[in-house]
């Protein structure tokens, strides 16, 4: 059912039957290491290119989610996924290997949440019994595409973020069982642009989009920030998180700082030198499938507003000095 201007409230909210996360060695050395299902020791995974490695990581993550969810391999009815590579090749290659009905998405780093919102709608509407929602990113594929070759000896600015080598996958399914983790509502964001042009400052580019989507979700559903145990943002990083708090406080409805958790700002220790924090499609996917969803199942959290945000730019648009349009999606996760 559509409520307000941008939000769906799912009449039959799908259950998150299982969730899996696979991360690289650097992420596995961070503060959330205990929550991830698989920590790779080799970020090339024995493949001959970084792109194939990312695709293999995504494939393993999807297989793990199906196994944990107790459904036979290959029986998921749809695979919603995306990544940062040109023409989302990591997803396409993983789709080829998995042989599942495929929905390729691109919402930059918001892709995982975009998938959750869409798949939940199709399951609630009775079009699907279950669906896999996933996303992946890899530091080495992102660097060569968006920035510089890995061995270049340059410095990064303090606001630059570190693309996470990570994949997350959740299996959603239609079920009537009580007391389960479910996706109860989803909000489609609008593309927002506050004319940030610095591709090394994604947090600043995306914060207004996140603000717009959270505000839309709250006003559409008639909830307040106080109704949620946590509000989770995707990859604003430490600086972007501060900017978001400032945006809310200036609007007269401040978000309580202790309720706002950013996946990118939680993924690494400062000593690991990620600068402003983690980013990438795999950041919000792995942190929510690892950390957030596990905490919800353990009963620590009952209701979480999960948002993912993406910078809709490309190396071409950066070179042409265009500003960075950004998008954010929100999904309300509840144990009911």
């Amino acid at each position: 059912m559509r409520v307000g201007k941008q939000t769906f409230v799912y009449e039959k909210p799908p259950e998150v039957a299982s969730h899996a996360s696979v991360v690289g060695p650097k992420e596995g050395g961070g503060p959330l290491a205990d929550y991830f299902d698989v920590i790779l020791d080799d970020d090339l995974l024995g493949m001959k290119s970084w792109e194939l490695a990312e695709s293999e990581m995504l494939r393993r993550c999807a297989l793990l989610a199906m196994k944990e969810g107790g459904i036979p391999e290959g029986s998921a009815q749809a695979f919603f996924t995306g990544d940062l590579n040109d023409q989302i090749i990591a997803s396409g290659f993983a789709g080829r290997a998995l042989e599942l009905p495929f929905v390729g998405l691109y919402g930059a780093c918001s892709t995982f949440v975009e998938g959750l919102v869409l798949a939940s709608g199709l399951i609630s509407g009775g079009f699907l019994e279950n669906a896999l929602c996933a996303a992946s990113s890899h530091f080495c594929t992102a660097e060569r595409q968006f920035r510089l070759p890995l061995e270049m000896g340059t410095q990064r600015t303090p606001s630059a973020q570190w693309t996470a080598t990570a994949a997350g996958c959740a299996l959603l399914r239609n079920s009537d069982a009580k007391n389960r983790l479910r996706v109860t509502a989803g909000t489609l964001g609008k593309v927002v642009d506050y004319e940030i042009k610095d591709a090394n400052h994604m947090g600043a580019a995306m914060a207004p989009a996140v603000e717009s989507t959270i505000r839309a979700h709250l006003s559409d559903t008639g909830r307040t920030a106080g109704d949620f145990d946590l509000i989770v943002t995707g990859d604003l990083g430490w600086i972007g998180r501060e900017i978001l708090l400032e945006l809310f406080s200036r609007s007269g409805k401040p978000l309580p700082s202790e309720k706002l958790v950013d996946c990118g700002a939680s993924l690494y220790f400062q000593e690991q030198d990620p600068h402003a924090g983690g980013s990438g499609c795999g950041c919000v996917a792995s942190v929510s499938c690892g950390w957030i969803m596990k905490r919800m199942e353990e009963g620590e959290l009952r209701r979480v507003l999960l948002t993912g945000s993406g910078a809709m730019m490309s190396p071409t648009s950066s070179l042409q000095a265009e500003s960075i349009p950004s998008i954010a999606y929100a999904a309300s996760l509840e144990v009911i």
């Binding site: 001959k48 061995e151 270049m152 410095q155 600015t157 506050y194 400032e246």
Partner: protein, 153 residues
């Protein structure tokens, strides 16, 4: 863009500037100075060595360049130069070793896309602009130098 929107964009730019930490320029300059200086000292040692080995004044600097390019490329290949660069910034980009690094790094990175369209086409991805404008500038200044010498002196 409406007036209202322009106002919002300006206010937002202020928030962003307030919340964004600045690069540490003084520390950066000091690090660039000592690492860049050290690379130059190493270069000078090789030049002196070359002169001691009876190489001419013309060939000694060439010998030094070859050695430094070799060192820069080797350090890139074994994954050390990017760490030096992270610490020293311009200190290790400006000397000729940085130029070697900017050619070797894409060579390693794009080898997977093939010898011709990968490595071959991308080899000068970063060094290309330096060559384009370096050579262009030297042609322009060469003409000026020639004209001044021919007609004014």
């Amino acid at each position: 863009m409406s007036k209202n929107q322009a106002q919002k964009v300006r206010e937002y730019a202020k928030i962003v500037e307030e919340k964004t930490p600045k690069s540490r320029h003084v520390r950066g300059c000091l690090r660039a100075f000592w690492v860049g200086g050290l690379i130059c000292v190493i270069g000078q040692c090789f030049t002196n060595l070359a002169v001691a080995l009876n190489l001419s004044e013309m060939t000694a600097p060439m010998f030094t360049s070859c050695v430094l390019i070799f060192l820069g490329t080797t350090l890139t290949g074994i994954g050390v130069y990017d760490r030096i660069g992270k610490y020293a910034g311009a200190g290790s980009i400006v000397p000729i070793t940085g130029f070697a690094n900017s050619v070797a790094a894409p060579a390693i990175e794009f080898r997977r896309e093939g010898m011709v369209l990968g490595l071959g086409a991308r080899l000068f991805q970063l060094a290309g602009p330096v060559l384009t404008y370096g050579i262009s500038a030297s042609i322009v200044f060469g003409i000026i130098y020639w004209a001044v010498k021919e007609w004014l002196l």
